[in-house]
């Protein structure tokens, strides 16, 4: 199976398993591990006598996980055949510039101001929307020049995180 971290793909495979003892092949290297899920979302891993705790929470979708290690976090994508198919399809269709066209906020909040209108031409760096969450205002700016195609939010409205707010064409 393939797995991706920071957009780098790795091959991973279980060679052998007896109880908690795993032999795993990772990009051709063979690792011997003692792995136990000790509580919900926490794995205890022993490798070469060393003890590690890895945290896991579900990510954006069923094939995405956020792995935590002492305050650091890693975004991991599982790439099985279904995911590969979808990814190829997406790449052909949109040429992966989806994130440049659509403005979204990673967190829920309240729309303070939308200083643009549909049909307006915008320059790179121009402020498109100001969101307030938790006593802090964040400005979201255009990444490239374009025309405002659609605005999905209104001033004063409460929005969800990762929701598309403005579309630039």
């Amino acid at each position: 199976m393939e797995i991706s971290i920071n957009n780098q793909n790795s091959n991973i495979e279980v060679i052998k398993q007896e109880g908690n003892k795993f032999q795993i092949s990772l990009n051709g290297r063979t690792l011997d591990l003692d792995i136990t899920k000790v509580e919900k979302g926490i794995y205890s891993i022993l490798i070469d006598g060393k003890s590690y705790e890895m945290e896991v929470v579900p990510g954006r979708n069923k094939k995405n996980y956020i792995i935590g290690y002492h305050g650091l976090s890693y975004d991991i994508e599982i790439i099985d055949s279904e995911a590969k198919y979808l990814k190829n399809k997406q790449n052909t269709n949109t040429e992966d510039d989806d994130d440049q066209n659509s403005i979204s906020s990673p967190m829920p909040g309240k729309v303070i101001k939308i200083p643009i209108e549909v049909g307006e031409k915008v320059k790179p760096g121009q402020t498109l929307i100001i969101i307030s969450a938790m006593k802090m205002e964040s400005e979201y700016k255009a990444k490239r020049a374009g025309v405002v195609k659609e605005i999905f939010a209104k001033e004063g409205e409460t929005i969800e995180g990762n929701q598309s707010l403005i579309l630039i064409d």
């Binding site: 199976m1 797995i3 971290i5 790795s10 991973i12 398993q17 007896e18 109880g19 908690n20 795993f22 795993i24 990772l26 690792l31 591990l33 792995i35 136990t36 899920k37 919900k40 979302g41 926490i42 794995y43 891993i45 490798i47 590690y52 890895m54 945290e55 896991v56 929470v57 069923k62 094939k63 996980y65 792995i67 935590g68 290690y69 002492h70 305050g71 650091l72 976090s73 890693y74 991991i76 599982i78 990673p106 967190m107 829920p108 909040g109 309240k110 969450a133 938790m134 006593k135 802090m136 964040s138 409460t158 995180g161």
Partner: protein, 505 residues
């Protein structure tokens, strides 16, 4: 004797105040907005009253609703915490008029110290050093130029009613004065409905050092030594400690005396804080007074052993302070780290959400004042502060080492937090050596925003992260009932079985 206290606040400070009340045998009343029905302060208090919809201007800031709850619950007193109505003179007055004890200063003290110009005037009259500057509103550029000539550039233009960096402009060159004045005034008007501004000499390489004071109703005022609050990001405190690694016992003594003089000049009552700007040469100037409990009060508590919330309550009951100044002796060292729901790697964007796990650090010398729990959803309406992690050590070195250990032991899953950023602060040589000022984060940003893992270790953690995700995905594919793929020995069967039982919940 106060028997019942309504806490007009939420979050960690409401929980912290309830703890003190419980230890004093005082019944506690929580108030909550619609977003906060499941918040810890509601669960933890003896009583709880709904005071309105989620936005704070419809609940926690509505004086009438809070007074209503106090009357319904027959509370003897109201503790405002920090933020919200804590520095609102109208609220202080109203509470008293309703025959309820306000655990905090009078409207007079709040007003005097709340307006920056009147506070500067009051302090100057009391002989407390203030940053050189004007004592009056500056209406136009002509008077501004005159004032700047007296003080010398660079200067800060500040809003009289200000706070939070709004209506503030740094002026380095004379030809910037006209624009800066206009901008400051318009920002001040928009933010506070008042365009009064004044100027202060801009102090470079500053340290923010504040003195905790306690004043009773009988004229006794003590200072409880200093807190060093120079690790700041966008004028927000991130790390605080006491004693300050900067000041000397002589300077402490001097500043402490001025802090007492300041409190007396403001006719202060209760717990309050006098903030000073200190430059690298240990020149110090009164900055402002906070007429309430501070977020960072626990560091003072840990080195003095005094519970400040209990003292506030005792003072409000009319008791005399039970110590003399000579009995106030700092013991060891304490550091506080503010833990926020924010993404340090993404410009400190707030990261509210669903807390999937909350494992707090424990052990000798570790205190964690928080309010989130497993299953709690951090609301988007309020401050992103999750908790304050405070460590005590016999020495500053031990307090830092303990803080590093505690930050590593702390696990909050499901949301982004500043835990790793705080750990990097503790590892920064400038911090470790106690050589830092308010420029610390900017100066050390290259160091602070890296993960800090040694190369081979970083590689291993990446490997294990992939393996963990892989196993979790497999577990999920092969069975949905929470029994992990790896559960094959007898203890695991047992775990599975009991987990099964638990699943019935």
């Amino acid at each position: 004797m106060i028997k019942k206290i309504l806490i007009a606040n939420r979050g960690e400070i409401a929980v912290r105040i309830i703890r003190a009340c419980k230890e004093m045998g005082i019944t506690t009343v929580a108030v909550y907005s619609e977003a906060d029905r499941t918040a810890l302060h509601v669960r933890y208090a003896d009583e709880a009253y709904l005071i309105g919809p989620s936005p704070s201007n419809k609940s926690y800031l509505v004086i009438d609703n809070i007074i209503d709850a106090a009357k319904k619950s027959n509370a003897d007193a109201i503790h405002p915490g920090y933020g919200f109505l804590s520095e609102n003179a109208v609220f202080s007055d109203r509470v008293k008029k309703e025959g309820i004890i306000f655990i905090g200063p009078s409207a007079y003290s709040i007003k005097t110290m709340g307006d920056k110009i009147s506070a500067r005037r009051c302090m100057t009259e009391a002989g407390v050093p203030v940053v050189p500057g004007t004592r009056e509103n500056i209406p136009d550029v002509k008077l501004l130029k005159k004032a700047v000539n007296e003080v010398g550039l660079p200067v800060m233009i500040k809003a009289s009613a200000g706070g939070g960096g709004k209506g503030m402009r740094l002026v380095q060159k004379e030809d910037e004065l006209t624009d800066a004045l206009r901008a400051a005034k318009s920002e001040a008007l928009a933010a506070f409905g008042d365009d009064s501004v004044y100027i202060e000499k801009f102090i470079q390489s500053t340290h923010h050092i504040e003195f905790q004071i306690l004043a009773d109703q009988h004229g006794n005022v003590l200072h409880l030594c200093e807190r060093e609050c120079s690790v700041q990001r966008r004028h927000q405190k991130v790390v605080e400690e006491t004693p300050s690694p900067l000041i000397t016992p002589e300077i402490r003594d001097e500043m402490g005396k001025y802090a007492i003089a300041a409190a007396k000049a403001a006719k202060y009552e209760g717990a309050g804080t006098i903030e000073f700007l200190v430059d690298d040469d240990l020149n110090y100037y009164f900055l402002e007074m906070n007429t309430r409990l501070q977020v960072e009060h626990p560091v003072t508590e840990l080195v003095l052993g005094i519970d400040l919330v209990k003292e506030q309550i005792k003072i409000a009951e009319g008791n005399k302070i039970s110590w003399s100044q000579s009995e106030i002796i700092q013991n060891g060292h304490a550091i506080e780290c503010r833990v926020y729901a924010e993404d340090a790697d993404n410009n400190f964007m707030p990261s509210p959400g669903f807390v999937q796990k909350n494992i707090e650090p424990m052990g000798f010398g570790v205190r964690c004042d928080g309010y989130v729990y497993e299953g709690f959803e951090i609301p988007i309406y309020y401050d992103p502060l999750i908790s304050k992690l405070i460590t005590w050590g016999k020495t500053r070195k031990e307090a830092i080492e303990r803080m590093k250990r505690a930050l590593r032991d702390y696990s909050i899953m499901g949301i982004k937090t500043s835990l790793n950023f705080l750990h990097r602060i503790m590892e920064t040589p400038d911090f470790y050596m106690g050589k830092y000022n308010t420029n610390f984060i900017e100066k050390n940003k290259d160091f602070l925003f890296t993960h800090g893992l040694e190369k081979n270790e970083a590689k291993r953690i990446e490997d294990l992260a992939m393996i963990t995700a892989f196993l979790e995905y497999n577990t999920q594919l092969t069975n949905g009932n929470n029994i992990p793929l790896v559960a094959q020995n007898s203890q695991w069967k047992d775990f599975g079985r009991k987990k099964g039982v638990q699943q019935r919940l």
